[in-house]
Symmetry: C2
Subunit: 465 residues, 2 copies
C-alpha cells in the first residue's frame, strides 16, 4: 500500500529544486526540425537519461537514423504481487523559436515571472511542450521513491526527440523494440487541461499529414518589366491552388478528402455542448472574432472532430527590404492536413497532389517534397480502467470532475502504441490554451507544473492499489 | 567639324582599359534597395564623379534624403557657334544580388568569359544594368576628347543612385535644380537593342506603381492543431486576393484598372507584327512555352502596350527546414503594376487598395505600406530630330536600320524629364534580352559594350555637325 501523503508534501516542499531542474532542461535548445541544433538534441537526450539513472532506472540513449530515443526501465523490489507495467511517454525536442524578435526573454533562458494578473509563469521554449509536462511525472516518481522507497509498479519511460518534426524514426524503433516497450498501458503527458482549474483527459485526437510543394514558373528570376504579362508567375499559380482549397462554406474542396469522416454521435455532441465553451473567449484570446472553419459547426467540433487543410508557410520572390521588380522562378508552400475518423493519410496526400496538379495554370509545374508523412486520427475508449483510475486521481487533486475531451492536435504516438504495441494510451496533461506552445513567449503556469506533479503522485499511488 | 574616325580607332585600341574601368565600378556593391549597402552607394557615386572630373567636367556628388546624385557639366571651348546642350543619364545603383547561391561567380567580382557559343561576356551584377551601359557614353566622351581635344557640344551628366528602388529623391532633385539640368534633349542609356546585331531606340515605356501589403490574421502565431479550422489564416486570405486579381482570360479584375488604356493604333500594330518577333524563342529562353497574359494579344503587345498586375514576392509563416505546424499571424506580399497609356498611378493604387480590402475574409485585415510610389507610362515622338540623328548614327555603326520599339520596363526619368525639365528623351541602349539584369549571373556582351561606345562616338560626333 503506497502512501502518497508524504510524497505530496515532498513535492510542495521541494518545488524550487524541481523548477531548477526543468530550467536546466529548457536551456538546451533541442530543436529537432533544424539540423543546426542536432548536437543540442543529443545533449537533451543525455540530460534526461541521467535523470532516469538518478531514479534508479536502467536508462539508455538509443541511436536512430534521426534523433536518439531515451528508454529507461524501473523495476521495483519483488513484492510477490503481480504489479502493473506502465509506460510513460514524453518528448525532449522542441519547436523552432523563430520569430526571435517577438520573444520578451530569450527562448532558451527560462525565467519564473508573474503576469499582470499575478499568476506565476515559467517562460521559455519547451517549458510546456513538452519538457515541463514530462518533468511532472519524472518529479512525481522521484518524490514517491524518496518517501516510499520505491514505485508500486513496473515502469518504462520512453522519451523521443522527433515529435516536433514528424517522428520519422518512431515506428521503426517501436517495431524493433516491440517486446521491450509493450506494457499494460501508456501514459502520455503532452495535452491540456480543460481550464486552469479543471483537469482533463483527452480521448480524441486528430491525425496529421503534411506536404511541402515547389511551384516552378520560368527557369530563372525575370524582370517584371521585360516579362510582366506573358510570363507565368509561380506565386500566382500557388495562390490559385491555396485559394481553391476551400469553398465559400469553409469545406475542403479536394475530391475524396472527406472519405472516412463521420458525423459526430449525438451523445458526444451533447456532452461537448454542455461544456459551456466560450467561442468568443477562445478566439478573442488570439485576436480573432469569427470562426473561419466549416459553416454551421461549433468551434469545438471544428477543432476536435473536423479535418482541415492549412498553410503553415508560403514564400517566393523578393522578401527583403524595399522593392525588387522580379517575377520569381519558384514559389514554395508548406501544407498540413488535420485528419479525423478513418481518413487515410496516404490517400489524403495523394488526393491533394492530384488536386494541386490540376490547379496549375499556364507553364506552372508543381513538385512535391516526397517527404509527406502522417498518421491517422485516434479515439480511446472512455471505459478503459486506467482512464477511470486517472480521472478519480485528478478529481482528488483538483476537487473537480475531469473533462473527457478532444484535441485538435496530433499525437501520432497514441496510434502507434495501439497499432504496434497493442496498448491504449491515457492522455493526461496540464497545459493551458494560452501556453503559446508553438509561438514566441511559450510558458507553463507554475500551478500546471506543481499540480501536475501532485496529480502524477496520486495516479502512481493508485496504480499500486 | 568633329572627326569621329580617330575616336573610333582609339575605342578599339583601348578596349582593355575600358573593361578594367567598368570592372572597378562593378566591384562596388551599390545596392540601393538594401540599407546595408548605403556606404557602397556613396562609394559608387564618388567613383563615377571622379571619372567625370578626369574628362574635364565640373563634377559634384550631391546629397539627397536618399542616395546621392552625381551631376557633371562639360563646357567646350567657345567656338562662337551656338552648340546644343545635351544631358546624359544613367544610374550607378544596382539590383540586390540574391539568391546568391545561383551565381556561378560572386556577383561583385566581375569577369570576362566566353560562353559555350564563343561569345565574350562581361559578367557580374551591374555589368549591364546600368554600370556597363552608362560607361559606354563616358568612354565615348573620353575618346572624343582625347582625339579631338573637346566635345562638340555642351554636356550635362546626371547619374542617380535610386533607380532600382523607386527613385524617391529624383523628382524633388529635378525640381530644385530645374535650371541647371534643363537641356535641349536627354540621352538615356538603360534600354536594349532589338537583337545582338540590330540597334534600337525605345520610344514607348510602361509606367509602374508598387505596393507592399501585410495581411493580419490572429494576433500571434498559432498551433495548427489547436486552432486549425476556426482560425483565420492570413496566407489563405492573401492567396485569395492574389488569385482574384486576374480573370480566366488573363485580364486584371480591379474595377477601373483599365481606365486610360487605349487600343494600339493599327499602324503601330502592323509595324510590330513586321518585326518577326519569335514568341517561342523569347519564352523558351526562360523555360516557358505559353504566353500567360491577356488572351488574344501578342507577346509584344502584352509587354509593350498592356498593363499588368504582378507579384514580386510573398511570404508568411514558417519558411525554414522541416515542418512547423503553425498558423501564422501575418502574411506579406509585394505587388507591382505596369502601366500604359494614360493610366494614373495614384488612381490605380487606390483602386487596388479598395479591391484588396474587399477580398479579405473572416477576421483577416490588410494594411498597406503607404510607400506606394509610381510613374505613368511615356511615349516619345518618332519625328524628334535627336531620334532621327541617333537612328542614322546607329545605322552607320551596325549597318542595319535601328528598330523603333517599345519596352515593358519603366524608366520614370523619361516622364520626369518631360514634365519637370520640358525635354524629350532619346533612349539608346545596348542591352540584350538575355542579360539577366535582375537575376543571378547578370552579363553584358562584350560586343554590346564595344559597339555601344562606338555608337556614342558617332552620335556625339553628329551632335557637332
Amino acid at each position: 500500500m503506497t502512501d502518497a501523503t508524504a510524497a505530496l508534501k515532498l513535492i510542495d516542499d521541494s518545488l524550487e529544486g524541481a523548477i531548477e531542474r526543468l530550467f536546466s532542461f529548457v536551456r538546451i535548445p533541442s530543436i529537432s526540425a533544424d539540423p543546426a541544433y542536432s548536437a543540442d538534441c543529443d545533449k537533451a537526450a543525455a540530460w534526461i537519461a541521467a535523470e532516469f539513472q538518478a531514479l534508479g532506472c536502467k536508462a539508455s540513449v538509443r541511436p536512430t537514423p534521426g534523433k536518439p530515443m531515451v528508454v529507461a526501465h524501473y523495476t521495483p523490489p519483488d513484492s510477490g504481487r503481480k504489479l502493473p507495467h506502465v509506460l510513460f511517454y514524453g518528448h525532449y525536442d522542441v519547436q523552432p523559436a523563430d520569430p526571435l524578435d517577438l520573444w520578451k526573454n530569450p527562448p532558451f533562458e527560462p525565467q519564473r515571472i508573474k503576469n499582470k494578473a499575478g499568476v506565476e509563469l515559467l517562460v521559455g521554449r519547451g517549458t510546456a511542450d513538452d519538457k515541463g509536462q514530462l518533468m511532472t511525472f519524472v518529479e512525481a516518481a522521484r518524490a514517491l521513491i524518496a518517501t516510499n522507497g520505491s514505485l508500486p509498479f513496473k515502469a518504462t519511460f520512453l522519451i523521443e526527440g522527433e515529435e516536433e518534426s514528424g517522428s520519422p524514426s518512431l515506428v521503426p524503433f517501436l517495431k524493433e523494440n516491440r517486446e521491450e516497450l509493450s506494457c499494460d498501458v501508456a501514459f502520455v503527458c503532452d495535452t491540456n487541461m480543460w481550464d486552469a482549474k479543471t483537469p482533463a483527459i483527452t480521448t480524441r485526437l486528430r491525425g496529421l499529414v503534411h506536404e511541402e510543394v515547389t511551384v516552378i514558373g520560368p527557369s530563372i528570376d525575370l524582370h517584371s518589366g521585360m516579362y510582366g504579362g506573358p510570363a507565368t508567375n509561380p506565386i500566382r499559380a500557388l495562390s490559385r491552388l491555396v485559394s481553391s482549397l476551400h469553398d465559400a462554406k469553409g469545406k475542403v474542396t479536394i475530391p475524396g478528402f472527406y472519405e472516412g469522416v463521420s458525423e459526430l454521435p449525438a451523445a458526444v455532441k451533447k456532452q461537448w455542448a454542455s461544456l459551456k465553451f466560450s467561442e468568443k473567449k477562445f478566439l478573442g484570446a488570439v485576436g480573432l472574432k469569427t470562426a473561419a472553419g466549416e459553416k454551421g459547426r461549433s468551434v469545438l467540433e471544428q477543432i476536435w472532430a473536423r479535418p482541415t487543410a492549412e498553410l503553415n508557410g508560403m514564400w517566393g520572390g523578393y522578401t527583403g527590404a524595399g522593392t525588387k521588380t522580379v517575377i520569381p522562378s519558384k514559389a514554395f508552400a508548406k501544407f498540413t492536413f488535420r485528419l479525423v475518423g478513418k481518413q487515410n493519410p496516404a490517400k489524403v496526400l495523394k488526393a491533394f497532389q492530384r488536386f494541386a496538379r490540376e490547379q496549375m495554370m499556364g507553364d506552372a509545374k508543381i513538385a512535391f517534397s516526397g517527404k509527406g508523412g502522417g498518421s491517422p486520427a485516434s479515439e480511446i475508449s472512455e471505459s478503459n480502467p486506467f482512464i477511470r483510475l486517472s480521472a478519480a486521481a485528478l478529481k482528488a487533486e483538483f476537487k473537480r470532475e475531469a473533462v473527457l475531451m478532444g484535441s485538435g492536435g496530433s499525437i501520432p504516438i497514441v496510434r502507434h502504441f495501439k497499432d504496434i504495441l497493442g496498448m491504449d494510451s491515457v492522455l493526461v496533461g496540464f497545459g493551458l490554451d494560452d501556453d503559446a506552445i508553438h509561438s514566441p513567449n511559450e510558458k507553463y503556469n507554475l500551478s500546471s507544473f506543481h499540480r501536475g506533479m501532485r496529480s502524477w503522485v496520486r495516479i502512481m499511488g493508485a496504480l499500486g492499489q
